[in-house]
Symmetry: C2
Subunit: 428 residues, 2 copies
């Protein structure tokens, strides 16, 4: 098909009329579809139902070291959970704390603690005039909500397929000691599905921040969330790389089993240096007696070891891979050659990042909503919900059924075309 | 037996020699007993093993409203859990948020939030020169640890069998707007097992604090934790009383199932006014997507309703009542009439509060430890671990077996006598 930009006014008018007619048909279908959040679908959740039998009334709820998981105690998590999650995160179990059900909560608490008590003896952030965070964009809205809530100024950093703009980051952290952190989703990034290159990870590890309490918030949310057996992204392990670079305390690395077993009923973890661990434990001991050890044990008994987890993730991939492929096929078929859109084709994770013409994202999301398809709000991939180009939309293909997803993706492309054609027409 | 204070020097010397010989025998027994923390014993934990079957791989993990508990969402907890915990807390389900596994964590977060963001539009506490909390003493060490961690000045308030000294509290909060809160364990208090009288609760509800962001931290940890069927303490419900008194936002009320099902794997909750709920939810939505709904559902399916929970608590009582009675019998037999000690005889909860002669608590705890019986550290029932009289010791009878407990209690009384006799001798 001819690129929209090359169409004459008449051609565009005709195209808009045709698209409107198609759009009307979708409206008549009374759709109620949701592509807004990175939620696993029912079939994915069903994969973990056997976990509900991993512990029953006949089970011995003791750890290998004899600890009764039913009682109080064990602040940082049971040993066997640290081994399992350590293998998942590619970190030594000694570097790991196991938390409750939400890694987002761990990130929030990490910042809350920095606000009130500071990091490793440095001044609490709430005592400073200004605290800033670097935010690779587009990025994860819930990260940005945390920093916004704490009044931390967010500075957007451009993303590339190799990771964030490291030239900018190196300069910024070296010059400005108000910059205390950066949000990273290093593998199968949210929303692009990009994975940081070896060079990017190495440059992160070698950062020379002016602020001694600068930390990289390394949200390894999709560490083993591959879509393909034969196309998988690999990253250098950041903690090891930091240690090697003489920057052992530079990183907090987060992960959870939320998109492995049950979101909301999984286990979350943090991997970091001994100094950071000590700093955190000095706070944690005042916050709780310990997290849910029975659920930790349940996960360990269900998976056995990392191999069980890897096999489990292949089943997830088998369910969601066709969904990603369906979206990509429909985008290709409907949008290729029109020169009105780009989108990513990730090897893992939960999202596709879509970029339309400048100034169209909000209108596309609105249009889709009016025909019954809910997308992530336009703008939400940017700090303060402000996408300066109004072009980025996060596509979350996992939750709807494949059938529904195809309808939703088709409608989405229709909205993209309609909004884009009208915009080009208006700009003429 | 003759009161120690009435003994002659010779009699005391003889008594000390006799006690030393008895103590030596205990030392030879190589004991390893723990009366330090309020932990349920194995038999109590066994009561909840059937909860592990409440959900299995065949179960429908949907709420009554159709929500799939396995997936993300439902920030404030599932409806049926709010009903169950509402009945447990004697509050309307609409006034309740269900959290994760630890009410201590909820209290910590409540204070952390007040520090960084303030309560209902008031200035964040971290912006103030001084923040103070009232602390009824003796009290719960983990409460005091939280306020100490946040640099909040703690002011001790005397406890009576009817609750804290309300004359002092009314005056203090009316005069000093730096006083932002008070720690209360209103029912079967930690460590005395006292329950606040109707008058005390009513006076709390009628407080006229100078600080608009003053809150009562009402830790209802032992709301249904009775020891007896026929001797149970009842309290006026504080939220209702506050509302009636025109002080609807004055109270945060906390509870959990930690000492009902499994400590560390239970569910915690907060009950408070709609204004406070809104304030909290505005923060929580940045902290987490939701707590563990599967575990909430597990609790609901296990208990069915509050009647199931009440029956369950009777089984707990049957296990721990003989332990409280054994301690009381041994204390009576060994210490009555010596005029060197007082102790409480609670109708519920997890503790007995013991008071020895001034200046003996630390020595008694040390003496017991050297013979293999671990007690809660002397001083830990006071803010900053400073018991000005060095007289109070918290006794936690639930965790050891009845047999071990009897040995430990006997040894404890021996240490009390030995330390007291030596002290009286030294003072002569």
């Amino acid at each position: 098909m001819k690129a929209y930009q090359e169409m004459s006014k008449e051609e565009l008018v005709q195209e808009v009329e045709s698209l409107k007619a198609q759009y009307k048909k979708y409206q008549d279908m009374d759709l109620h579809l949701d592509m807004s959040r990175g939620k696993p679908c029912r079939e994915q959740l069903d994969l973990s139902m056997d976990m509900m039998d991993a512990l029953n009334s006949e089970a011995d709820l003791s750890c290998e070291d004899g600890t009764d998981c039913r009682n109080y105690g064990v602040l940082t998590g049971i040993d066997e959970a640290k081994v399992l999650i350590g293998d998942m995160m590619e970190n030594n179990p000694d570097n790991i704390i196991i938390f409750g059900n939400s890694s987002l909560n761990v990130m929030y608490d990490t910042i809350a603690r920095a606000m009130t008590h500071g990091i490793m003896g440095n001044l609490p952030w709430c005592k400073l005039d200004q605290v800033k965070f670097l935010c690779p964009v587009p990025g994860y809205d819930r990260h940005f909500s945390i920093t916004e809530y704490f009044g931390i100024e967010m500075i957007p950093v451009a993303m590339t397929p190799e990771g964030p703009d490291m030239d900018f980051i190196e300069k910024a952290v070296a010059e400005d000691d108000a910059i205390k952190g950066i949000w990273c989703v290093p593998k199968y990034s949210n929303p692009q599905g990009y994975s940081y290159s070896d060079e990017t990870v190495a440059r992160f590890a070698r950062l020379k921040p002016k602020a001694r309490d600068f930390r990289i918030f390394w949200d390894n949310a999709y560490g083993i969330h591959h879509l393909y057996d034969d196309k998988q992204d690999y990253l250098i392990e950041i903690l090891a790389e930091c240690k090697k670079s003489g920057n052992p305390d530079l990183v907090y690395k987060f992960a959870s089993t939320s998109k492995i077993t049950f979101p909301g009923s999984g286990i979350a973890a943090l991997a970091t240096s001994p100094n950071n661990l000590e700093d955190i434990m000095n706070q944690m001991k005042n916050q709780t007696i310990g997290h849910d050890k029975v659920n930790q044990l349940r996960h360990v008994r269900f998976f056995g070891d990392i191999h069980g987890m890897v096999e489990h993730m292949k089943k997830h991939a088998d369910i969601i891979r066709p969904k990603f492929e369906a979206v990509e096929e429909i985008f290709d078929a409907e949008l290729s050659g029109l020169e009105i859109a780009d989108w990513t084709k990730p090897n893992g994770g939960y999202f596709i990042s879509f970029d339309g013409l400048d100034g169209t994202a909000k209108a596309i999301v609105d249009k889709a909503k009016k025909a019954g398809v809910v997308l992530t709000d336009a703008g939400s991939t940017w700090p303060y919900h402000k996408d300066p180009k109004d072009s980025n939309i996060r596509i979350a293909p996992t939750y709807p059924t494949l059938e529904d997803l195809k309808v939703a993706a088709k409608l989405f492309t229709l909205c993209v075309k309609l909004v884009s054609a009208k915009k080009l027409l208006a700009d003429m």
